[in-house]
Symmetry: C2
């Protein structure tokens, strides 16, 4: 049977279509949802990501405030900027583009983001709430993966899900979300032995390792579902797509898979944050 | 080869011996570390646990304040009590005995505990910090399991660890701690299929399911390490001890395994909380 291509652009369109009316309702009340994006330094890829996110906002009537800081910025100066945005009632969401230059304490910066404005789901408090099934904005890519699975009616309960990667904003939260949806979850990483054998046991594979074509076709059980959260230089995912395609029953392409849904999720969280803020002030 | 019995009483003694001088130092400064224990209702097992914890405190020169509330207590009244303890500078740690009566929102009560006094590691914020490798007091039983592994020099890195159970204060945090120590971690639960086959692949098995003798001897790979965090009526663990003993290379008994180390960990966290509080006021 031909594998299903899990088309993220279709999922993203559905999310964004659902937001339009909500943005209009907010604007009718005089509230424009606003996402602040913070970019430190001039990494070209990061500049592109931030610009894409800003453009996606504006197409939907969400405003964005771009804060661009020089690469020499100190941790304290960055924390000051974040605190200003925390206190600004016009700002509903804050995104600090990862990675920041090496001299900055990125974790301290993430932790400084107000929980209610943490639309990118980067704080440990948000992670804790996500993992324990409480309210909050989960990290966008993990949430996007769950949305894709649901859009395509893929069963999660009781499935063996293997996540490759354990970063704080991807591998760990996607493991937590899958566990809360009743998958049996195995989290692998650089110290994992015989990763091929572990992946061969997976009904659902999430590649979140940041290495181009890391996941081999021979690792994939016939009929497995593959979600590729990797996005490496030259539009290459973490999965050897052509080799895995022949094994999988469904797979996300790169580009056009998880990426567009991640951005739509960020927009969705920003609108929700604005709605919550409006609800409080009513 | 005879399996090693992982004797928790020895590990607990070492922890407590290490605390004596620290408690004396604090008392010399006029500070007596103090743990507040909150018990809601009259469940006999819970009463016993709270009394054991209070007695363990007093043997070490740690004071404890017992708050015993009637089973009709509302969530709001419980939150009020917790807030009083949060604000009381004489109290360094707060333990809300689990479970509370069903009408109370236990999660809301846990979340109300001040992060700096969350010596039992029950808040989502503490869980998030634990999982992302930041400072904080991890849940006591998960931390006790790690301490036992380290005391007996058991390798964690690169091992396949299978955790059976996914509760917020046991299964989830012990999975997170093992992952951060470079185990490949699989978390199983009631919806897991073919759990016997999954456990057969484990180098380290953590039983945290709350069902007497749930883990069968036939599930255990020859030479595996077994940690039994269960404590069911009649001093019975979650592991079929006699059957598993013949397979394991090391195993915790019940009682005398994880339990005593859990209590020692609680004392250790309370002393550390008092030290941090003293450091702030200097």
């Amino acid at each position: 049977m031909e594998p299903i291509i899990l088309d993220g652009t279709v999922v993203a369109k559905q999310i964004k279509d659902g937001l339009k009316g909500r943005v209009e309702n907010l604007r009718a009340k005089g509230i424009t949802p606003c996402l602040a994006t913070i970019l430190v330094g001039g990494d070209p890829a990061s500049e592109t990501y931030v610009r894409m996110k800003g453009n996606a906002c504006s197409r939907l009537g969400i405003s964005s405030k771009r804060v661009h800081l020089p690469k020499e910025t100190t941790t304290i100066a960055l924390l000051d900027e974040i605190n200003k945005l925390n206190e600004d009632p016009q700002i509903h969401g804050i995104l600090l583009q990862h990675p920041v230059p090496g001299d900055i304490d990125e974790r301290a910066a993430f932790e400084a983001i107000d929980l209610e404005k943490d639309v990118d789901g980067v704080t440990s408090a948000t992670f804790g709430r996500t993992a324990l099934g409480l309210s909050g904005f989960p990290s966008c890519t993990p949430k996007a993966i769950m949305t894709i699975l649901d859009y395509y009616n893929i069963t999660i309960e009781g499935q063996n899900a293997v996540v490759i990667g354990r970063s704080p904003i991807l591998g760990k939260p996607v493991s937590a979300l899958l566990l809360n949806r009743d998958a049996t979850i195995t989290t692998c990483h650089s110290k994992t032995k015989d990763i091929d054998k572990i992946v061969q046991n997976a009904d659902i594979v999430v590649a979140a390792v940041g290495k181009p074509k890391f996941v081999q076709g021979s690792w994939i059980k016939q009929g497995a579902i593959i979600l590729d959260a990797g996005y490496n230089e030259g539009n290459i995912g973490d999965v050897d797509y052509d080799a895995c395609l022949t094994q999988a029953s469904a797979i996300t392409p790169v580009p056009g898979g998880v990426g567009p849904v991640t951005i739509a999720t960020l927009l969705s969280h920003t609108v929700e944050a604005a709605e919550r803020s409006a609800g409080k002030n009513e």
